[in-house]
């Protein structure tokens, strides 16, 4: 009788231990599997961003806009690396819930080498995208801007105001005398002077149609120099990301100058003579060694190069 009770206890004990082990293993497997598939899903979205932003390359258009929506609050992590010149943007998508659950969440980054993506580090469900060409003076690439926060451009120059209104970007408002399309919680970007500004744009171009063709964006104690459409990158991105993307762009500008310089030799052989080779070689060297502060000089040099090219009968770009 005593032996039977002991046997019964052993059977029960064995069942409990084995059952618990299976249960624990199953739960562990399910959690690990869930994390794995969630990470895979996020990587898939990151890769999709590369594909769906291809049509946003403005090409011959002045600007193109679009929108990405997520079901839950999500952040688009954008890391930039200017290693080896052309550099890369590394895109990873992270939902807020997964970031809260696991602070050491392993993100799978998708490297993108032929795009220049400017974005902010914030969570949101709706991300607005727009692209604008970067020309110095020839087209170098398209700049891609991704943002979820609201911005209010206070007293912008007419052409920027018209373009923003034309692009129909709900997160970019314009405040002009007698016209205000800004949301209440917007980040206020003042052109020149304004009240309650979160950042200011200081135009420094004297011989231009608009003084804001190049200048400096001042925000959070940082001064970000810009030229042309880089203005939007300076407004949206954090300083490190902005500087890295500008370095990548200048490297590519220099490489294209080299291609154009060699192209002039081939054109000369077919009686399509041009005198721009030396200027292009000088411009290529200038862009290769330029810093953010030199953008105004590059912009002025590019303008004079463009004027010379316009006088040529055989166009180079």
């Amino acid at each position: 009788m005593r032996s039977k009770k002991a046997d019964f206890n052993f059977v029960l004990l064995f069942a409990i231990v084995a059952g618990t082990a299976i249960l624990v293993l199953s739960i562990y497997g399910a959690v690990r599997g869930g994390n794995l598939f969630r990470t895979a899903g996020q990587a898939e979205i990151s890769a999709s961003i590369d594909v769906i932003t291809d049509p946003l390359q403005a090409g011959s258009f002045a600007a193109v806009s679009s929108k990405i929506s997520f079901r839950q609050d999500t952040r688009i992590n954008n890391r930039c690396d200017d290693y080896l010149g052309f550099g890369k943007n590394y895109i990873a998508v992270e939902s807020e819930s997964s970031a809260l659950k696991d602070s050491a969440n392993q993100l799978i980054e998708i490297p993108i080498s032929n795009k220049y993506i400017f974005s902010e580090e914030s969570y949101g469900t709706d991300f607005r995208l727009f692209s604008k060409p970067f020309e110095l003076p020839y087209r170098v690439s398209d700049l891609l801007f991704i943002s979820t926060l609201n911005y209010c451009l206070v007293s912008p120059p007419e052409e920027i105001a018209e373009e923003i209104i034309g692009l129909n970007m709900p997160n970019f408002g314009v405040e002009l005398a007698g016209n205000n399309t800004c949301e209440e919680d917007s980040i206020r970007v003042c052109f020149g002077y304004g009240e309650d500004c979160n950042m200011t744009v200081d135009g420094q171009c004297n011989d231009c149609d608009s003084e804001f063709e190049y200048g400096v964006v001042k925000k959070d104690g940082d001064s970000l120099y810009y030229a042309g459409n880089l203005l939007f990158g300076a407004i949206i991105s954090d300083p490190d990301l902005y500087e890295c993307n500008v370095k990548r762009l200048l490297f590519r500008t220099s490489m294209i100058a080299n291609v154009y310089a060699q192209k002039t030799d081939l054109m000369n052989m077919r009686d399509c003579n041009t005198l721009l080779k030396t200027d292009l070689e000088v411009f290529g060297r200038m862009t290769l060694s330029a810093k953010l502060e030199n953008l105004d000089e590059l912009y002025d040099f590019a303008k004079s190069l463009d004027k010379k090219e316009n006088r040529e009968s055989c166009k180079i770009w």
Partner: protein
């Protein structure tokens, strides 16, 4: 007798637990197999989509396209230059290979560029072993001066790009 019955019970229980464990393990493996299969096919289709959309991206790249951003047009002079400095650009291309082959007027002998009267520009090929290729027809143009007038001299070519793994 009692001991033997208890032993039998333990064996029964053990077999049952092992069977249940194996069943769930197989079910789990089956699930993982299906999910990774989906993941692989998603990866392949994304890579394919990326390459097809890259055809347009590559044609519009300032390193290749005709002046003033004409669509479906590649500048032959730029191709000639790039064919000789393609290594410098290897980090930039979003695809595994880029090749431009003249197809019209009819080509009698294929000559790889850079060379005189060349017909095929091999711009880039990664170290990837097998490459699935997609292509499209484009205009291949260069500027010439004839009778004092600047004109476009164009042929038809096939731009082929390879899917990156």
């Amino acid at each position: 007798m009692v001991n033997k019955k208890a032993e039998m019970k333990i064996q029964q229980m053990t077999f049952m637990i092992i069977f249940v464990f194996i069943f769930f393990a197989f079910a789990g493996l089956f699930f993982v197999k299906i999910q990774t299969g989906n993941l692989t096919s998603t990866h392949d289709s994304l890579a394919k989509e990326a390459t097809i959309s890259s055809l347009e991206t590559i044609m519009n790249m300032p390193e290749l396209n005709c002046e003033s951003g004409k669509s479906l047009c590649i500048d032959e002079d730029k191709l000639y230059v790039l064919a000789s400095i393609s290594d410098a650009y290897s980090e930039l291309w979003p695809v595994a290979s880029i090749e431009v082959r003249k197809v019209y007027p009819k080509i009698s002998q294929e000559i790889t560029c850079p060379a005189a009267n060349c017909t095929t520009y091999k711009i880039y090929r990664s170290s990837q072993e097998s490459i699935q290729v997609y292509g499209t027809l484009v205009s291949l143009c260069k500027k010439v001066r004839r009778d004092g007038l600047v004109q476009d001299d164009c042929t038809i070519a096939r731009l082929s790009v390879g899917v990156k793994d």
